[in-house]
């Protein structure tokens, strides 16, 4: 029997020795030739973590720059990546479009009733009761004392603002972190003694123009001195940041006409029956006659079914005395902005009896200008990345690919569609937490490639999807 006890002991020992968890070790984090000791992120609202139409606490936390910084901690980053957190989770945002900005809290998905009494799921303010004064107070309260901050994403800024004195006055998001009105954004960047920088800027240089339908703001020209022209300003900015750090990453800007802000409301949302179409055609007979008389190609014609909207287009070649005729039907390749009040389409005869104001539409010629500026900016940024041996992220190509074929990571599918596309938040411009994680991984890819580093990528599924009621 002793013999068998021995065998049993042997088996038990074998069991415990053998039943260990297997180790896999295919990846070792490392900094390569880069130095990630202190990282400064310079940019606009995308870098700030602005989302759902506002800057607010969890949005800032889920911003790609913070995601990237947390991964850099595994490859040598020391200390904290300081973010100028807003005081509240509702946050403060400013409306896109022309005119004076109005402040608002972030959007959440909620039920809203339209003018016809139909309830649907739509972005609504998280706190509709917040007053302009309260929001102004929140955004203008200085948090400079807790700085200096590593996240220098300032919503709304253009390339020409980087060295601009007085930015603290003009932009409350910078005003709340600046030590003195004399601070410029780039001088501020030196305060965290950065060894590595990211610079993702240029979106507002075209978006400011595009998001107002070409009405307000101008596209930053390529030519001109620092503070005026894109080329001189970005050249000086990159040169300065390289002088501080030696190493960094710059990203180009996507073609903003791909984003849901410009692609959610279709060009032909006017649905008519035969009678309604006939009545409108009768009313526009004089317009069509006048255009024919003047030898202009414009015609306004309605049919049963979906119809293109009537828009106002001040660029039409007509004398000012005939400015009431500067209306036409929108073309299928022209873009309608997300902020178009759709109730006006449904109940106030916009798009049929009344033209949709120009500020809600990006016309063919405006789109052309946006695309041209985007490609000039991107070419300049790519040449700077090469000149200074910096990592480069080509978001223009990345977003094009997603627009055409989607992107799937870890079982999460991304498209450029509004809300269902997972990539863009409820403002149609800025990223969701999962979208920020995707962007952070693209930055990691570019940095790893340029510097032979091994910054680990993040799991997309660790980040929350769009919140639904």
């Amino acid at each position: 029997m002793k013999k068998y006890t021995k065998i049993i002991y042997l088996l038990i020992t074998l069991f415990f020795v053998a039943s260990c968890k297997p180790t896999v070790d295919n990846f070792t984090p490392g900094a390569g030739s880069a130095n990630f000791t202190s990282y400064v992120a310079v940019g606009n609202s995308l870098t700030a973590g602005y989302a759902n139409g506002a800057l607010y606490i969890s949005g800032q936390k889920y911003g790609w720059a913070n995601i990237l910084a947390q991964q850099m901690k595994k490859v040598g980053m020391k200390g904290e990546f300081k973010i100028p957190y807003m005081p509240t989770e509702d946050g403060v945002g400013a409306s896109e479009g022309s005119g004076l900005p109005t402040f608002r809290t972030k959007f959440v998905l909620g039920y809203s009733k339209d003018c016809l009494g139909n309830t649907s799921l739509a972005p609504v303010p998280s706190n509709p009761k917040a007053t302009q004064i309260e929001l102004w107070k929140e955004i203008s309260t200085s948090v400079a004392a807790n700085g200096p901050y590593n996240n220098l994403g300032i919503p709304g800024i253009k390339v020409t603002d980087l060295f601009g004195p007085g930015l603290a006055y003009r932009n409350p998001y910078f005003g709340r972190i600046a030590y003195s009105p004399a601070d410029t954004l780039l001088n501020y960047a030196a305060k965290v003694h950065p060894t590595f920088f990211s610079l993702w800027i240029g979106n507002n240089d075209v978006l400011g123009y595009a998001a107002s339908g070409g009405v307000g703001g101008a596209i930053t020209p390529m030519a001109g001195a620092v503070g005026v022209g894109f080329k001189a300003s970005i050249d000086a900015a990159v040169k300065y940041l390289v002088s501080l750090t030696g190493e960094g990453v710059i990203a180009d800007i996507p073609d903003i006409t791909s984003i849901p802000y410009f692609n959610t409301i279709p060009y032909d949302p006017i649905v008519l029956n035969q009678t309604q179409a006939g009545q409108l055609n009768a009313a526009y007979a004089k317009y069509n006659g006048a255009m024919k008389l003047m030898g202009l190609p414009y015609r306004i014609e309605f049919k049963a079914g979906a119809n293109p909207m009537v828009i106002s287009d001040p660029s039409m070649p007509l004398p000012d005395s005939l400015s009431y005729l500067k209306i036409r039907q929108i073309k299928s390749d022209e873009l309608v902005m997300l902020e178009l009040p759709t109730d006006s389409l449904k109940c106030a005869y916009w798009g049929t009896q009344k033209p949709v104001p120009d500020q809600y539409v990006l016309t063919e010629s405006e789109i052309q200008k946006v695309k041209q500026a985007t490609s000039s900016y991107n070419a300049e940024m790519l040449s700077l990345a090469k000149k200074y041996n910096l990592a480069f992220v080509d978001f223009n190509s990345i977003l094009k690919n997603i627009e055409h074929g989607g992107l799937t990571v870890d079982g999460v599918h991304f498209t450029t569609k509004f809300i269902t596309g997972n990539l863009f938040s409820l403002d149609g411009v800025h990223l969701t937490p999962q979208g920020n994680a995707v962007v952070a991984n693209y930055f990691i890819d570019a940095i790893n490639k340029q510097y032979g580093a091994h910054i680990p990528k993040v799991n997309i599924s660790d980040y929350p999807p769009v919140k639904m009621p």
Partner: protein, 405 residues
């Protein structure tokens, strides 16, 4: 009958295995065979032949016999995400496949018997918040086979046998959905199906014997499974909380060909080649009763057939003690581009050990031990772009008792 129904309940509660072998197959249907590299077709190890080779049942010793046993599968899967330091490990329950055989000779050359065994099963339990939670959180697949068997000996050397197989199985799985508020779906379904198991055994001489066994493919067709969706209220009109689904999971056919050679009175060598027709597992689809346009899914699996070579040896120390050892190598039937973490099946090397103690004539206490090394492999599930390295380590102790008179 009471005993059988008790086993049935036990089966539904416990049996499951993972990271054990190819796909979701679990070939632990006799501790004697398990000790010898899981070889069975060319051997005459009594009533457990009903699974391994029904043709060999007619070679059983005595007039009546039974064999009862089980194993504990302790499986560890480690996942390391591609280009990341993220590591996830399964927290799998202990798999407990079991077998029960009872058979008797109705005449000199005819034996009949009844077998209950569990040749397929799988359980993977990942952390519910792990990186690939949108593919799978946990799954448990169970199948119990019930097999009445008859075996006929033609002369002294040749035996054939056949069994009708009734399968009772179930699937239970959880998957997260990419909506807010910890959305997810729970699927639970039962399936019943039929198949067969046939074998031929030829004892060429005192030294040589050969065997061939074929076990048919059985489809586990889930007809009216329960689906429970947990999604935000805003989606409840599109995705109702309760739904029914149908699905089908193939349990592939097996062809085993083996040869055994008695070198001396004490030493028995055996080798076997098993062909598993995994290519029938082409895709996994779920069809839903309510809102099928939105919810139905077809996920490619694209498994391929595999061949498993096995070797084994038995050494008779004395009339009371037998020692066994074996080894085999199994290539993964899974496609490396359509590799789902619901069934982590890798190229696997295994060694086996076994011992039988015979205190009195006819009674045998059988123990076995296997260790399996699933090799570090980079896998992707292309439709989800879920890339990572998988590695497994599994140990399986087993214990059984058999008796004949």
């Amino acid at each position: 009958m009471k005993k059988i129904s008790m086993f049935f309940v036990m089966a539904l509660v416990f049996i499951s295995a993972t990271a054990f072998a190819g796909g979701y197959q679990v070939r632990l249907e006799g501790n004697k065979q398990t000790g010898m590299g899981l070889i069975g077709a060319p051997l005459q190890f009594g009533v457990s032949s009903m699974f391994y080779n029904p043709g060999a049942l007619s070679f059983m010793k005595g007039k009546f016999g039974f064999d009862l046993g089980g194993s504990g599968i302790f499986a560890n899967v480690t996942f390391e995400k591609y280009e990341s330091d993220y590591i996830a490990r399964t927290d799998n329950p202990v798999g407990t496949p079991f077998y029960f055989y009872v058979a008797g000779k109705v005449s000199k050359n005819i034996a009949v018997g009844f077998a209950i065994y569990t040749p397929y099963g799988s359980a993977e339990k990942w952390n519910s918040n792990w990186a690939l939670k949108y593919l799978i959180q946990n799954i448990s697949l169970q199948a119990v086979y019930f097999q009445p068997t008859v075996s006929i000996k033609m002369g002294d050397k040749f035996g054939i046998g056949a069994g009708l197989v009734f399968v009772s199985g179930s699937v239970d799985m959880n998957r997260a959905l990419n909506y807010s508020g910890n959305s997810g779906v729970h699927l639970n379904g039962k399936a019943h199906s039929f198949g067969f198991n046939v074998g031929a055994h030829y004892k060429a001489s005192d030294q040589w014997s050969v065997g061939v066994t074929y076990r048919s493919r059985i489809n586990m067709d889930i007809k009216n499974g329960d689906a429970t969706f947990h999604v935000p209220d805003a989606l409840s009109a599109m995705i109702p909380a309760t739904n029914h689904f149908s699905s089908s999971l193939p349990l592939p056919s097996n062809l085993d060909i083996g040869v055994a050679y008695r070198v001396t009175k004490k030493v028995l060598l055996a080798a076997e080649l098993d062909w598993v027709r995994w290519s029938v597992y082409d895709s996994l689809s779920f069809k839903f009763k309510t809102n099928p346009q939105l919810l139905n899914s077809i996920s490619p699996r694209l498994y391929k057939d595999n061949w498993i070579p096995r070797i084994g040896v038995q050494y008779k120390v004395s009339d009371k003690l037998l020692l066994r050892a074996g080894a085999y190598y199994e290539t993964s039937p899974a496609n490396k581009d359509y590799f789902s973490p619901e069934t982590v099946t890798l190229n696997t090397f295994a060694y086996t050990l076994g011992v039988s103690y015979l205190p009195v004539k006819g009674l045998s206490i059988d123990a076995s031990f296997i260790q399996l090394f699933g090799q570090n492999s980079k896998m992707n599930y292309l439709p989800a772009n879920a890339v990572g390295y998988y590695k497994t380590n599994t140990v399986v102790p087993g214990l059984g008792i058999s008796y004949h008179f």
